[in-house]
Symmetry: none
Subunit: 193 residues, 4 copies
């Protein structure tokens, strides 16, 4: 098995799935872009679904690790939360195809939705929950906030901004400014003091 070839197929699939959508994407096009024969893709991945799942599983690992490292480098929970939002959006900016997959296409892969949930995605979301809990313990954050709900709020907000950025072809949205605003709202709320 050639691990480089596996990687090439994976990268090609990201491009094609992102561009055409999971269901409209053709295995032949993935193979063509990877510079291999169709049959070869089936040597490295069980089937189309498995290819999708693998993208998620394997591309998510470095992302989660990088995020974890970035967060660890921050002193306070407040800074950690700020970091999460900024880094996530910088990921989106750097690799919009991958971002689009994680946001939109992933949800269509039936095997993913039915029963898969709980792998890397939960791990990623729990980074947010951990930050909240840490802040609550440290007395930075309100203890009345539920980590389970909060992680969804943060991810949802960030993901919506990201989706909007990814979908709108003209990438004239300022993700840095958006990150700041998200952080401000999450930390201070919108109520005028």
């Amino acid at each position: 098995m050639n691990p480089g070839k596996r990687e090439k197929i994976l990268k090609a699939a990201i491009k094609v799935f992102a561009r055409d959508g999971f269901y409209n994407a053709k295995m032949e096009e993935v193979a063509r872009r990877a510079g291999v024969a169709v049959g070869t893709t089936y040597l490295y991945f069980e089937n189309k679904d498995d290819l999708m799942i693998s993208i998620f599983e394997e591309e998510m690992v470095p992302i989660i690790n990088a995020m974890r490292r970035e967060i660890a480098g921050q002193a306070t929970a407040t800074e950690k939360l700020t970091t999460f939002v900024r880094v996530h959006l910088s990921f989106v900016e750097k690799d919009p195809d991958m971002a689009h997959l994680l946001e939109v296409e992933m949800r269509q892969c039936s095997k993913f939705i039915h029963g898969y949930h709980g792998g890397r995605f939960k791990e990623y979301l729990d980074l947010i929950a951990a930050i909240l809990v840490e802040g609550q313990i440290a007395g930075e954050f309100e203890s009345s906030i539920s980590p389970t709900i909060f992680k969804q709020i943060v991810f949802g907000a960030v993901d919506q901004i990201a989706t909007n950025y990814t979908v709108s072809r003209a990438r004239r949205i300022n993700l840095n400014q958006a990150a700041d605003q998200i952080v401000q709202v999450l930390l201070q709320g919108i109520t005028k003091k």
Copy 2:
């Protein structure tokens, strides 16, 4: 023709699209559930895509109207924002199939994604933006928050909660509590005072 029949097909499509996903859904199953012949569905809708678009267009209208009415019944912008979040989640609770469609499946319908965006959906998001602006003018809300970004934050947060609720078959999540927490975060932030 027969508007009742059209409605039956639409409702059947919502069920089937929600259960099987847009691409896995079969027109034959939609027809079966609607109690009509396959050909009949094509008397009322141009094709599968049109059926999906129509669901969005026609089911969104009463939702938007109801939301608008509920918001109008509130005095302050703060109450209006609270209402938006609660009512949205109550919609999700009342009709999870429809919610699932709007959240997940809709994005797969190619015609929807390419060029359609901006109809009812934008209208819905702009309800949030209007609330923010109103609050800013009234002096309730911080004027430094961008309406364009804020509406995405709110929708993203609420939608993520909703998606999670819809996907998890066991509906033991308390949406009321989630609504309260979302509102609290949005209004006050999580920073301890």
Copy 3:
């Protein structure tokens, strides 16, 4: 039964069958053009095939009669043959839709081909055969020519010219000149004396 309505349907069918071809023609379009409901066409004609057959049968009658009359008005077999060719092409010029049907579309109607042959069409061809025989008896024409073969030669030649005229949208072909040339060849041959 309203015979006028039957006629309207027949005429509409000629137009539609000629324009779209028998297989691509839709009964709904025929009905629309006739100004009746789809179901009505089935009150006057058993089915699509029957409609085609009826066109042939019923439109052919006046044509054959007119042709017979014209021929009868001529004194010699030579003049009669000349008349046949000219009148046929003038029919084509007057009603290209009908001509197109008889030339091209008719052959596609399976019931027509399988077993039908021998109705009006044979009657029409036999007008030619009769002219030849008459001329042979009168001593005008060579007696070595087979009527069965000759009628096909004449019809084939005339029909090919007609088809070419009908297909080429730009109707700049001179059918009169073509008629003269056909007659000349048939009567004298092309060999230089």
Copy 4:
């Protein structure tokens, strides 16, 4: 790919299209007869129309070439014309399916009719025109005859005989005799001297 397989599909299509007609022919039946799967036919031909066009294009080439060779072997224009008629009818006798396609079914393929006309078919007709012109120059044939019209007369006559032969299942028609009669009429006309 595999040119032999392409040929098998082409031959199968000729049989099926000739027997059932273009519109009634099923791709599945074509595949079955070719001994391949349905999908395979689409590896070699874009679609049903393309298959039909390809039959015409590719089967016509050897026919035209053979005809050209046969004609070239004759000394006088008179002999060449005789040869054309005889060889054409011998083709029909040898391969009635192919003949039927060229005569009847071909005209139904929409792509063929709309804009295609003028490729091989014109080439074939022009063989006749060339013979006439050659004979006129050599002083064998009357110079008053238009080549454009004459080629249609000859083809029409021959084609009508061929069609009649092909349609009538009982092949008891003597094509050799028919060829002689056609030639006699074309060369000498029917007028008794």
